[in-house]
Symmetry: C2
Subunit: 429 residues, 2 copies
């Protein structure tokens, strides 16, 4: 093991006696830590395992034949062929941005192409927005728990966190401000996965969306709306996005503080790495400059392939994904009711990929996972990494996008058996 | 025009009377400015224009048929097909990292797959390395002039610059340190385009490489070696890369301070956005964590396509590119000798895409460009943006990768005519 030194002086790992170079990193590097989920994913190809762990789309749903056909057409096209492999403009492929303008219009947001920047997945959008808005020691308001990848993106800017609360017991604006000042900075953004959130599966109610917009106005901060799961809606009326709601209030996207982050990763294919930001031009113009220094532009071929697929088949593709995931969610909820009712509670999600489970016993779900892998060959994600601060460790995330329909019930039964036979590990000394 | 406020209080653009939101950005945002090259590129599709401006590969050389065939094979493959469109690990596609290990071995660098992280082009490598090493107010050592994209990547971390000098009049280590301290930080990296540099076309001589390694040891800082043009070598013996030279000194990559940034953008196709970092594991391990928060991973399909192309045809592909660019360079140098000898000097490059021209008259090349576009329908890149500080404005960059062979001589003749009829613009009031 090589030693690492953070510049702040913390010794992260003991330095061994070796001639290996011991680089000194910028302080922000000390905030970037390995992800437990990431290490976990390494065991998921074990034979016979039933995994609720991977929060990733089902590859059987990727429109692979269509993408291959589109590539062939692009390659043979006189102008598109060379362009697909050449450098392109930072803001993104024009026709794709045009399609996104139409798509945002269908959500009730009137905008134009200059309000759109294509990003390398919505993860890059979070990084770019962190870079744009988060000063060192500033505070970001986030849910507890929240998307781990957002914490990873923001951590690199030496960010503190406070809990975004739009309920009846919400802190006052003055309290948010005072707490942030106590941490040496200001509140500089709020982050929310607005629909079918990762990891909780919950959707922000309309009344809380209104309060969130009020809060953003009072603090004069952007709301980073992560709409990754917006298209994956299974029951009832879909929620109105925060950006759409603010657009109704203000009548112009230029007056909106919501920065909408969309992605094709959950609906089409994540491996192409194409997402987008839709926001006021004051934001998108600066994001484009930052993106230029970050990766010049998102892959040209990837953007063209996404465009050719979505312009022809977006609605069909989403309908296909929704039908499969809805059925799996129903099977998972049935199984939870059958096997886990006396051990845990959960909130049935109206969309997305996740059910968030809170165990009645105060068990550390990370330790339970060790046991689940050893004794029953099942996997899930323990809840702790989704908390920016002290975690509720008796929580876990079940993803229903990947496991086969036929194995979901058995997986939950095994989870119940694991719980019933589980004994906590000896604490490590 | 919307107003922009940097948090430091600078008013960047006058605020208009409008209800548009005026976001407050993090201070680092004030260091991120629009690129002149970028604005310039917008006029390059004018009919009849002869452009030496775009520093981009010739799209006629992209192996498009091969890429399309490989995609078809990947798509039909049982395991690769789904994987090409799915999320993948942050460090990169295993077989591609394995190929890069072999490639680095051919350069004399013995390493293993954990010394390699695939990046979204080498531009992302520069951003990730800036994030890892550059503390706010630190100093990066760079050439004058240097690659504009490196300055753009590093600027986002509120970086100061000092001139990297490995000549006989180089400052002492104590001087570098004292200057950096005077700017409020430390010297925390040196950046060098080691071969056929953008914009100057020059290659660091072996003796200066040795001094650079000494400097990096004395300051205990990484050398970020941008090897983007290393494969495009046209005459004589290729230089030994800085990393290879340090490997010879130390016998293990783990002891090396050079961080090598490679790319497939100049040899295969930039639009796929695939590059790599090769460095000690103490660096690559941390880079992978930072990259995870930045974009999760580089496009899966892009990496697979690059792998299938390079494992079958890398040498052939490079040979094809080299043959075409070498001929164009020769034509350009001939034309410069014929038409521009009395007006300017330049250094003949042994590779790459660029000739750097210094005009004898103290003309601002940005103003000359305006005149060149208006009167003679030719384009080039003025030198000023490549300087981190006060520029030598009577410089310009000619790229020979894009213009047709038959138009290069005429383009230079037009440049000479532009110079001979040029009168400086009235200064703007």
């Amino acid at each position: 093991v090589l030693g690492r030194r953070a510049r702040c002086g913390c010794q992260l790992i003991a330095m061994p006696a070796t001639a290996a170079w011991q680089p000194a990193f910028a302080d922000r590097s000390a905030h970037v830590r390995a992800s437990e989920i990431r290490d976990l994913l390494k065991v998921l190809d074990r034979p016979g395992i039933i995994s609720f762990a991977g929060g990733i789309p089902n590859p059987q749903l990727f429109p692979r034949d269509r993408i291959a056909a589109e590539l062939s057409a692009i390659q043979q096209h006189q102008a598109l062929g060379p362009a697909a492999f050449q450098y392109s403009v930072t803001e993104g492929y024009g026709p794709l941005r045009g399609w996104i303008v139409q798509h945002m219009g269908s959500l009730g947001v009137v905008c134009d192409i200059d309000n759109i920047v294509v990003t390398s997945g919505s993860q890059q959008a979070l990084d770019l927005l962190g870079k744009l808005f988060l000063q060192s020691q500033d505070t970001a308001l986030v849910a507890r728990p929240t998307y781990l990848g957002a914490l990873q993106a923001f951590n690199a800017y030496q960010t503190h966190y406070d809990t975004l609360n739009t309920g009846s017991n919400a802190p006052t604006v003055a309290t948010y401000r005072a707490r942030a000042a106590g941490r040496g900075g200001r509140v500089s953004l709020a982050y929310v996965v607005s629909e079918h959130a990762n990891p909780t599966g919950t959707t922000l109610p309309l009344e809380e969306r209104r309060k969130l917009l009020d809060l953003s106005e009072q603090l004069d901060i952007p709301i980073v709306e992560d709409a990754a799961y917006q298209g994956l809606h299974y029951d009832g009326e879909p929620a109105i996005s925060c950006l759409s709601l603010e657009f109704q209030r203000r009548g112009s996207i230029e007056a909106c503080r919501v920065v909408y982050c969309g992605t094709f990763s959950k609906t089409v294919a994540p491996g192409l790495r194409v997402g987008w930001i839709c926001a006021a031009k004051a934001v998108t113009r600066q994001i484009a400059l930052i993106k230029q220094g970050s990766d010049l532009h998102t892959g040209s071929l990837s953007q063209m392939l996404i465009y050719e697929v979505v312009r022809r088949a977006y609605a069909d593709q989403v309908a296909k994904v929704v039908a499969v995931y809805r059925r799996r969610r129903d099977i998972l909820l049935d199984a939870l009711n059958r096997y886990l009712r006396s051990d845990a509670q959960w909130t049935p999600p109206a969309g997305g990929m996740f059910v968030w489970v809170t165990l009645y016993r105060k068990i550390d779900a990370a330790d339970l996972l060790r046991s689940a892998l050893e004794t029953h060959n099942i996997a899930f994600v323990p809840g702790a990494p989704f908390y920016y601060n002290e975690a509720e460790v008796n929580t876990l995330r079940l993803s229903f996008s990947l496991p086969e329909e036929a194995s979901i019930a058995e997986g939950v039964e095994r989870l119940a058996q694991t719980l019933h036979t589980y004994k906590p590990s000896e604490p490590h000394v």
